[in-house]
């Protein structure tokens, strides 16, 4: 938007428009063929929904986070433990039971999001990560805080991290996030 001296060169583009009450149209009955060359009419149609979303059988996991506890789902038969909750085991289909996971874990991988979905744009750049817990079969998607998103490094992979919990729960998986141990 700005040139090198920081002087704005263009007016900003927005998704607001002027209300229109008439459109150009040829004299009838002539010129109908010319309509084939007409530019499309593009209008704005707002769309908003509030969903009544249930966490269902996974609800204790969310309740755990708002009480400073990370739960996992464990299959007795296969000994699989899943940090993202699963009501039934991915291998044998048995119902899982709840177990408490440790608050210390490792970064399995990460990225820094400089862009993203509209909802998260104000938070960019932010660090997404997958967390590995000792003894767990699968991983947990989370946010990594306490690192400089503008200085990403492969050295972050394998880093020891500890869980932090939001004091004011949002009943979302981001009620837990991770920071380097000792930070």
């Amino acid at each position: 938007m700005a040139d090198k001296k920081g002087i704005p060169m263009r007016l900003p583009e927005t998704e607001t428009a002027t209300e229109v009450y008439s459109l150009p149209f040829p004299e009838l009955p002539k010129d109908l063929g010319a309509l084939k060359g007409m530019k499309p009419i593009v209008v704005k149609q707002p769309y908003h929904i509030d969903y009544i979303h249930s966490y269902g059988q996974d609800s204790p996991w969310i309740a755990g986070l708002s009480n400073g506890t990370i739960l996992g789902s464990r299959c007795k038969r296969c000994r699989n433990t899943y940090p993202q909750p699963r009501g039934h085991c991915m291998d044998c289909g048995d119902e899982t039971e709840w177990v408490v996971l440790p608050n210390k874990a490792k970064v399995h991988t990460f990225t820094v999001c400089h862009f993203g979905s509209q909802e998260f744009l104000p938070e960019c750049p932010f660090v997404l990560c997958l967390i590995e817990f000792k003894g767990c079969e699968t991983l947990l998607l989370s946010r990594l805080m306490g690192v400089d998103p503008l200085k990403p490094s492969l050295k972050w992979v394998g880093m020891e991290v500890e869980a932090k919990f939001r004091r004011l729960s949002k009943t979302k998986p981001t009620d837990v996030y991770f920071v380097p141990v000792g930070s």
Binding site: V42, P85, C113
Partner: protein, 450 residues
């Protein structure tokens, strides 16, 4: 199962936005092209067709439920049988395979597969949000749902496991944009350098804007027929059809939540041994598979398709591949899943001459001088990165480019011969959804076989 042939295809102009046409008219643009290529008019062909399959990915982008039947109606295929197919990014690949099933089973003699997506109806940020709704809305999306972020996390692990580099990834971008330079159907026809790819704005570290495909509006159509169906078309047109036989079909799946990928043994392709993935090179002495660095669904689809087509050494026995390069990194991961190289060697493969077209100069000295340049060109069309990714059309676009390659009609359709793979007898197409949730692989062969 009966033999199934792809007899023609059509692709609409792909663009960031196509406000000039509704989705139905976009479908007609691709569909009528495919039919005219058979030497028929739409009305005559519709008399012969037994039904159709229509694909589009997102009800959110369409903001229209049952858009499939609206497209079928517009094409003039009512009241014949039809259904809509959806499976994320693999929607188009699934659509092709559903049409194949209709014919292979004997249910139909002629079945068009038509796919579309109109992604320009919302801004890019809202589009990112819609796409991220194809991750678990309880546990993935709220954490910061962003597909480029998910793929970036995969490749960071790939880099850690295998030593893959961002520069190797950039080779894929240079290749696909350069191939697209010779493809007028492509949206981004650019001559790039590795440096330019790396210096483009960062989207999700280490993926830059030039490592990632763009949202697009577009449609594609593939016409499939049985032996009997081909005869009917030839009788109606008075012309001989250049048949392309579908000789292999494979499909695999994986958990929606990327975090849910377990760590197990590698299912082997016919050209691999268990010993390939055991030893000091691997953490703990064994490759932990699929983890998040590999796509179990892609391997499953490849294993099935190769078995059906009788392929035992993919790199030597496939003449070109059109694969789902939504990200340069996922093209590298897919080389490995499809057995073009072993796990861990995808980065090196990307920076070698093997997946490049032999007759095009890329400005990459190591590639251009490689005596093995052109062993198995990957994404000669330019792939998703350069052609665009109107999701429901993408897998069918790959089928159309593959069909033209095998019919040796690239020059006719593109008005340029450069990306024609010489002596192409067998091609593979690969369509991929989610973080690897649905993957299809289909093998197409020219008349006369290999």
């Amino acid at each position: 199962m009966r033999p199934v042939y792809m007899v023609s295809g059509g692709i609409s102009k792909f663009a960031k936005a196509r406000p000039d046409k509704t989705f139905q008219a976009l479908c007609m643009e691709a569909y009528s092209y495919a039919i005219h290529d058979l030497g028929l008019e739409v009305g005559k062909f519709n008399e012969l067709a037994d039904g159709c399959v229509i694909s589009y990915f997102s009800d959110h982008f369409a903001r229209q439920l049952m858009a499939g039947i609206m497209a079928q109606d517009y094409l003039g295929l009512c009241p014949k049988p039809g259904h809509r197919v959806e499976g994320g990014g693999a929607t188009g690949g699934l659509c092709l395979q559903e049409a194949w099933k209709s014919i292979a089973s004997g249910h139909m003699e002629i079945c068009p597969a038509v796919g579309f997506e109109t992604m320009s109806h919302v801004n890019t940020w809202k589009g990112n949000e819609f796409i991220a709704h194809a991750s678990d809305v309880s546990f993935d999306y709220p954490v910061g749902g962003f597909y480029s972020g998910y793929y970036a996390m995969m490749v960071v692990r790939h880099m850690m496991e295998y030593g893959t580099t961002a520069e190797q990834m950039a080779h894929v971008s240079v290749k696909n944009h350069m191939n697209a330079f010779y493809n007028p159907y492509a949206q981004k026809r650019q001559k790039l350098t590795v440096k330019e790819v790396r210096e483009a704005p960062m989207v999700a570290w280490p993926l830059t804007r030039l490592d990632i495909c763009v949202m697009s509006d577009g449609a594609a159509a593939a016409i499939l027929a049985s032996e009997e169906g081909v005869k009917e078309i030839e009788k109606a047109s008075g012309k001989r059809v250049k048949k392309v036989k579908v000789t292999g079909i494979g499909r695999g799946t994986d958990a929606m939540r990327m975090a849910d990928r377990p760590h197990r043994k590698v299912p082997l392709l016919p050209n691999e041994k268990a010993g390939d993935y055991v030893g000091k090179k691997w953490h703990g002495g064994r490759l932990e598979y699929p983890g998040i660095h590999s796509f179990r669904a892609g391997r499953m689809a490849s294993v099935q398709a190769y078995e059906m087509a009788g392929i035992t050494d993919p790199l030597a026995e496939i003449d070109f591949v059109e694969l789902h390069d939504a990200y340069t990194s996922s093209e590298i991961q897919t080389y490995e899943d499809m057995g073009l190289c072993r796990y861990g060697e995808g980065g090196k493969f990307a920076a070698s001459g093997k997946p490049f077209l032999p007759n095009i100069t890329y400005g990459l000295p190591a590639v251009d001088k490689d005596p093995q340049k052109g062993t198995c060109p990957v994404n000669p069309s330019g792939g998703l990165i350069a052609c665009g990714h109107p999701v429901g059309a993408t897998g069918l676009m790959q089928a159309v480019f593959a069909c033209w390659q095998l019919q040796k009609t690239i020059r006719k359709h593109l008005k340029k011969p450069d990306i024609q793979v010489k002596d192409a007898k067998r091609g593979a197409i690969h369509s991929h959804a989610g973080t690897g949730t649905y993957v299809t692989v289909s093998i197409l062969e020219a008349e006369g076989g290999r």
